[in-house]
Structure formats: C-alpha cells, structure tokens
C-alpha cells in the first residue's frame, strides 16, 4: 500500500482509539469508535480478493450498526437524564449500550461476524483486529461498569464462553480458531466486569499478550490451517516447542500466565457467593482447552506423515520484523505467573 496512505490510516486508527479512551462525552466516545472502524477498512481490503472484500463489508456493517446503537442509546440517555457524561447512564440506555459494545467486540449472541471476518484477513491485519480494535470498547465497558446490568453481562458472558468453545471445536482454519478463542476470552472478561473491573483489565492485558504471541507465531510459520502447522517443525523447531506453551497458556493451564486471569475470576466469583456460575465457566472452558490441545498435538506432539521426514527447510529467512516482538510477547505470555503479586497490587 502507498506508504503515505498507510501512515495516515495507522495514525487515524491510533487517534480513534485514543479519542475514545480520553473522552468523557458520549459523542466523542462514539466519534473515536467510528474513526477507528473507518481507518482499518482499507487495511482489511488491501489484497482485494473476494474473501477479503466480503470480510470488510461484514465488518463495516456490523460495526456501523453497533455504533449507531451506541449513538442512539447515548441520545436516549441525554433525553432522559440530561447528562452526556460517560458514567451517568439510566438502565434502558445502559442495557442498549452494553449490547452495542458487546456487538462491537464480538460476544455471543452477536458473534456471528467474527469468524468470517477474521478468516478473510491476512494474519497481521487479523492481529490488529483482535487486539487493538478491542481496546476502545473494553475501555468504554470499564468506564461504565457501575451502571451495567449484571444479568445481561452474565448471560452474554456465559453464552460466549460456551459458544466460543463449541465454534472452535469443528474448525480447521486457524483464524476461525483464534476467533473462537477471542469470543471465549471476552466472555470471561464480561462476567467478572460488574464485580471487579480491575480483574477484567488484567484478563484483557493477558489476552492481548497471548493472542499477539499466537498470531505472530502463525505469521512466522505462515500457517493458516492445521495441516500447515504439521510441517511447521521444519521451519523453526524452537518456535514449535515454545508455541506449545502459548497454546497451553491460552487454555488456562496452571504454570503459565493464562491461568492467572481464570484463577482470579473464579476466586472473585466464589467470594461473591456465585460458585455455580464459576463451575459452569470452568467446565465450559474445557471445550476451548480441547481445541488448543488439538493444535498442540498437530504442531508439537506428533510428526505427521510427510514425504521426507528428516531435515529442516533448506532456506531460513532471518530478516523478519516480527521476531523481536514475538520474543518479548512470548515470554510475557508464558512465564508471568510468578510475578502475580506485582500484577494485581491494588
């Protein structure tokens, strides 16, 4: 893409999210969301093939609908209470607004756009979509957490965890697997939000680290399907070994970082005397764990039948710009558990 256009679009994406994060007026928050939606559209459609175009169209339509709903509920709130402040929400506008923000993020039952949109994008653009574009809606949910309806959040969160696990079970394409994992992680975040927004922010940060590690690893392997993961050991055996830890971290297994948010969420829910929800959440994440383990199996634990199963690929490209970020993010996404006290000091 033309470097000047690319620079303007990246700057606009940054400006959009920053405007939403620093806003105290609903119009400005809406404006920031629309700017970031608008700026990522050309990045998504860059290679112009039909799947990318379709993904871009679907993304634009759903985000525009959700943004209109945000504007509408902000107007209703202004009409009912006279306040345009971010925190002053009446129950009707709070419900509509939380539904709209959750549609922007891709939570069940409004998740249908996410797998197909993510499938149509290149891995780098998918990374931006999964991490940066979620910052603004999460920040808005964080800011309005005290006026959110607990039942709505619980239902959508629980549904997201279950649906995210089930969607990922039948997937062969890695980007759809990542979409399912994103839906499930956001479900965990939404359930803990009315009780402890701090834990939600911790979960979101760790989710960003793990998703970045996964996307960058897939980019280095150039793998978009499970069958392309089976020959990944020939490209970079070190990354194959480390990728196992990333996948186990995504599944939430104890020595890794991914266990940290699940631990605190389950503990907080138990302290709030709703252990039944915590049990259902923990059991439903077994579905997600299964497809992470399937990826680990295909990637690390077995050698799939191949023509010449002996050597590494003869050509090794080292001038990839993703190696350094991947190193940093991978360490953070796997080995952060011993640093827990410094992460949660509040």
């Amino acid at each position: 893409m033309n470097p000047f256009a690319l620079a303007i679009l990246l700057i606009s994406m940054f400006i959009g999210t920053m405007v939403t994060l620093t806003s105290s007026h609903w119009l400005l928050a809406w404006l920031g969301l629309e700017i970031s939606t608008l700026a990522i559209i050309p990045l998504m459609i860059t290679d112009h093939h039909p799947r990318a175009t379709e993904a871009t169209t679907k993304y634009f339509l759903t985000q525009a609908t959700a943004a209109t709903l945000i504007l509408f509920s902000a107007l209703i709130n202004a009409w009912n209470t006279g306040m345009w402040e971010l925190k002053e929400l009446s129950p009707l506008s709070s419900n509509m607004l939380s539904l709209a923000l959750m549609m922007k993020m891709g939570l069940a039952p409004l998740h249908f756009w996410l797998p197909e949109v993510l499938q149509g994008l290149s891995l780098t653009t998918g990374l931006i979509l999964s991490t940066w574009q979620k910052i603004a809606p999460i920040a808005l949910m964080y800011m309005i957490f005290s006026s959110l309806n607990i039942q709505v959040l619980m239902i959508m969160g629980l549904l997201s965890i279950i649906v995210g696990g089930w969607i990922g079970l039948n997937q062969v394409h890695l980007r759809k697997v990542i979409a399912a994992s994103s839906i499930a992680h956001l479900g965990w975040m939404m359930i803990i939000l009315p009780f402890s927004p701090h834990i939600m922010m911790l979960t979101f940060l760790i989710y960003i680290l793990m998703t970045t590690a996964m996307f960058l690893s897939f980019k280095i392997f150039n793998a978009t399907q499970i069958k392309m993961l089976t020959i990944a050991w020939t490209k970079m055996p070190v990354l194959v070994a480390l990728m196992m830890f990333i996948l186990l971290s995504l599944g939430g297994l104890p020595p890794t970082t991914g266990f940290l948010p699940k631990w605190f969420i389950l503990q907080e829910l138990t302290l709030q005397h709703i252990p039944s929800i915590a049990t259902v959440m923990a059991i439903s994440s077994l579905l997600s764990l299964f497809f992470y383990l399937r990826l680990t199996y295909a990637l690390t634990l077995t050698y799939s039948p191949n023509t010449v199963n002996s050597t590494i690929m003869w050509r090794f490209k080292f001038n990839n710009m993703f190696y350094l970020p991947l190193m940093v993010v991978m360490v953070l996404a796997t080995f952060l558990l011993p640093l827990t006290p410094s992460l949660i000091s509040f």
Partner: protein, 167 residues
C-alpha cells in the same frame, strides 16, 4: 401545529420505509429525498431553522448528488422498484411492525415539548459551541473527513486489477 408535526413524521416514516425495503438504489434515493425533506420539516416545526437549512444543503445538495452521480455511473440493467415482490414484502412487514408499535404508544405530549433556552437558540448555540469549546472536535471532524477521502480512494484503487498486485 400538531398536524404539521404529524405530517412531518408521516413523511419521514414513508421515506425511511421506502429506503429500508431494499429497492434498487435509484428508487431508494427517492426515499432518502423524501425522508430528508420531512426531517428538515420537523426541525423547522421544532424551531431549529438553521439546522434544517444546513441539513438540506449538505445532505441533499452534497451527499445525495454525489451518490446519484455514482449510482448513474454504476448502472443496473433491471433495477428493482417498489412493485418488485421482495421489496413489497419488506414494506408490508415494516408497516405491520409500525402499526403494532403505534398501538403501544400511550401519550404523545412529548412531541410538543419545546426546549427552554431563553437567551441562545439551540441550533445557533450548537454552531457557536462547535467553534468555541468544541474546537478540538471541529479539528477531529475535519481530519475524519480527510481520512474518509483516503479510505475511499484506497478501497477503490485496484478494483479493476483483481488480486495480481501482490508482486
């Protein structure tokens, strides 16, 4: 006065149903015109005359004209009007939903509430605020319009070449 507001709302609904029932864009533009004219009428009945003029000028005189030229250039051989069966079904569904919603409305006195700004009128006051305290938003809006231009140009840049440009 109530009849004037009612006429405005009626025209607005007819125009929006005409657009939302998915006819071909040439006929949907007619629905947009009708909806926008009715919307401007409503703004006038509320006393916001400047806003009504701005809406007419920019929306109908700017956006819709550009849309009409673009739609004329990307012409359809057999455009679907409102007599097409699929479009007609949409219209019927919207009317049924509207009638159901109308039966739930109890009082309509909220329509005739007027704002009580004694010194500054709403619409001019808004314009003043946009240039005074809302200066940052004005800059942001200008930037967004420029970015929209770049976005549209980037999206429509290589359409005729297909997918052979990743070389």
């Amino acid at each position: 006065m109530f009849y004037l507001s009612f006429l405005g709302f009626f025209g607005f609904i007819i125009g929006m149903v005409g657009v939302a029932s998915n006819p071909s864009p040439y006929f949907a533009a007619y629905g947009l015109v009708m909806g926008a004219m009715a919307g401007c009428w409503l703004l006038v009945t509320f006393g916001l005359t400047f806003l009504s003029l701005v809406l007419l000028l920019i929306y109908l005189g700017g956006m819709l004209v550009v849309f009409a030229y673009s739609a004329a250039m990307a012409a359809d051989q057999y455009p679907m009007a409102w007599d097409d069966w699929s479009v007609f079904i949409y219209v019927m569904i919207y009317w049924i939903l509207l009638l159901i919603g109308w039966s739930y409305v109890e009082e309509l006195d909220v329509i005739s509430l007027f704002e009580n700004l004694s010194y500054v009128r709403c619409d001019w006051g808004g314009v003043m605020m946009l240039y005074y305290l809302g200066g940052f938003m004005l800059l942001l809006l200008g930037w967004v319009l420029l970015v929209t231009l770049f976005v549209v140009l980037e999206i429509t840049r290589y359409i005729s070449f297909g997918n052979i440009l990743k070389l």
